[in-house]
């Protein structure tokens, strides 16, 4: 495409039109997302001590090394593998053995992204796929929530356990997450600690308000499609509000539903992954409504206390169909574009 002609001392370049380019670039978008996650990791560190950065770093290292080893040359620079690693780390409990976090990052990139053909080709959110793998492989470790008592600098749980050895007996005090308390003991948690993050749970499950602020920054820069979190929050609020009206003793109030578990992190950072969400605006609304409905359904009738991960992964699978159904009307025609067959 680009050639250089020599005309005397002048070097002229030949390029295709348009000759101008808007300043945004894919690496800039990706690294901005990474940057916006720094305060979230910092908050997790504040609440969970040195375990938090260790788990995030282990997951990120797993993701980066896998991308480096099996990805196309130079693909580390686009920043997408770093996002996968950090996001995966934020979905894990603070006491998780580091080798498991590393393995999750490697699996997420390897089987969540690279086997599909690398950046832009994957169907499922790689970070969530990594977490789904860990949940299936190590169900106990993934649902052990050490209590936040003890010194700040103390490691939570068994971070330094050796790979494939039977873990040391947990002598730290264990505690349940707000959603677990709600589901199995019908004990609600106060709203303010929930929003600020002073509760038990995965690293990024806790600082809801902070995640909203960071996501708002990305939305302002147009690096994040605000329609997706907006429709997820709206759907969850409406559906859980209806349930709450039906039986306020059994079901939590909508504010609890919004700020408990991984909903905020999932809605703001996971569901909005550009590669695995719809490209059309109408599609984004549909996608969000679907996720919100699935989250409420799984939390209410499923066996697990939390369902954000499965809700997003299920809707990821539907994205090609959503895109196909929501193509805009082409200028000067009566119907949408018909190139739908090709979406797969």
């Amino acid at each position: 495409m680009t050639e250089t002609g020599h005309l005397g001392e002048l070097q002229l370049q030949l390029r295709a039109s348009p000759h101008l380019k808007a300043p945004d670039s894919t690496p800039r978008i990706m690294w901005s997302v990474v940057g916006s996650l720094v305060p979230v990791v910092a908050a997790a560190t504040y609440y969970f001590g040195p375990s938090a950065p260790l788990v995030v770093a282990a997951a990120t290292l797993g993701a980066l090394l896998t991308e480096r080893a099996f990805g196309q040359g130079g693909s580390l620079g686009d920043g997408s593998a770093a996002i996968t690693g950090i996001l995966l780390g934020l979905t894990l409990p603070p006491g998780l053995p580091l080798w498991m976090a590393f393995l999750g990052g490697a699996f997420g990139i390897g089987f969540g992204k690279l086997v599909f053909g690398g950046l832009g080709q994957n169907v499922f959110n790689p970070a969530l796929l990594g977490r789904a793998f860990l949940q299936a492989a190590f169900p106990v470790a993934l649902t052990t929530w050490p209590a936040t008592e003890g010194g700040w600098w103390q490691l939570r749980g068994d971070n330094l356990a050796l790979p494939f050895m039977s873990p040391a007996p947990v002598d730290a005090v264990s505690s349940a997450t707000p959603l677990g308390l709600m589901k199995f003991e019908s004990t609600p948690t106060d709203t303010w600690p929930l929003m600020l993050g002073d509760t038990s749970g995965s690293l990024g499950e806790t600082a809801g308000l902070l995640i909203l602020v960071c996501g708002g920054y990305l939305a302002l820069k147009n690096y994040l499609n605000w329609r997706i979190p907006a429709s997820i929050f709206g759907t969850v609020a409406v559906l859980s509000g209806l349930l709450f009206l039906l039986d306020s003793a059994r079901f939590p109030d909508p504010l609890f539903a919004l700020f408990s578990g991984g909903l905020v992190l999932g809605a703001v950072y996971m569901a909005t992954d550009m590669v695995t969400s719809p490209v059309t605006h109408a599609g984004a609304w549909l996608f969000g409504v679907g996720i919100g409905a699935l989250v409420v359904a799984i939390r209410t009738w499923g066996g697990l206390p939390e369902g954000v991960m499965y809700a997003i992964l299920l809707m990821n699978a539907l994205v090609p169909f959503i895109d196909r159904a929501t193509q805009p009307r082409v200028f000067g025609t009566s119907g949408p574009g018909t190139g739908a067959e090709a979406a797969s």
Partner: protein, 442 residues
Amino acid sequence: MRDRLSFRHGVHPPERKELTAGAPIRRMPFPEEIVLPLRQHTGKPARLLAKPGDRVERGDKVAESDGFVSVPIHASAAGTVKDIGWWPHPDGSMAEAVRITVDRFSPQIPRPRIIPRWEGLTPDQVVQAVQRAGVVGLGGGAFPTHVKLLPPEGVAVDTLIVNGAECEPYLTTDHRIMVEYPERVHFGIRVMMHTLGVGRAIIGVEKNKPDAIEALRETLPDDLNVGVQGLTVKYPQGYEKMLIEALTGREVPSGKLPMHIGVVVQNVGSIACIAEVFETGLPLIERVVTVTGPGVRRPSNLIVPVGSKLRELLEFCGGLRKDATEIVFGGPMMGASQPDLDAPIIKGTTGVVVLTEKESRRRRTYPCIRCGSCLDACPVFVNPSLLGLLAQAGRFEEMEEANLADCMLCGCCSYVCPSNIPLSQMFALAKAGAKRRKQQAA
């Protein structure tokens, strides 16, 4: 409510018109040699008349129109035909061209000619006069103007739209014409309204040219039903379909022409050119060209004889700066990179934009991340992301099903793509392939 002064989607590249917006149009001296390619307009190339050794005066025909969708080409300076042969064409190919050595001592006065009185002419006669004068769309498309003046039977035209949007960044050609020759524009509109038999005309001008809007309004004759409308500044506001939607609210149906919804669009420069035909009798032999960009020393608006070489224009404008890397004919969104300083200015050349490394595109591309920016930019609402994936997979037939034909190659998708994928370039190739397949099938 829909914004009546604009269209939906589109992009906002930096305008950079301040480089030349205030510079009065200056006349460039005649160069030593003029090169006139036979292919300067959309449609059939002109048929050669001149022979080497012929003496030509300024305004003499050197090539004749070949059919209805074709126009003649006239010598833009007096001199001697030196050679007829292949010469670099601004579209990047080689084209047959007439080379004229300009007579240095000629006064460059055209032969005396009869100036037709437009009031007494039938529409057919006006169409003939415009074709004979070699007038084409001066906004870049170079479509023969007279063809648009003769709607086929059964097509009723009610509105003439004059395109003064000039939405391409950097260019100020139409801007200066409207500021300096508003009366000529109105006179051209009068002739066109007479020919088309329409009672209404609208001049659409982007609001970043307030002096042009004011000049047109101040000089507007009382007996002429012409509206001067300011438009939202957005690319591609000057595209026919977008302009018509903004000014009339009508949508040109896919695959149809503006005529079919009762509208004819003419570029403001072409209108001024028609006015000149009926004022002086001179054919289209010179045009206004903006020479601009951060890579040129003295950005200017020039009247240039058609066939002047790029080299001459750049020299007249003080030459290139050291960091110049790319020379574009036309605007930077749609124009073509020039590999050769000997390429001539042709009838459709709106400007010469010299870019530096800072403005031009990077080379590195990334995979499509399905961000949807291109869907939000596309003014005709096709799915560039999908088309791009199909193009990369070589599935060209499916691209046609995905409304490739509605794409106007405006370049908005490539402009916004964060992965720097050359979308519109791929679509141009796919369109060429589709045309070839159609021809082979026929």
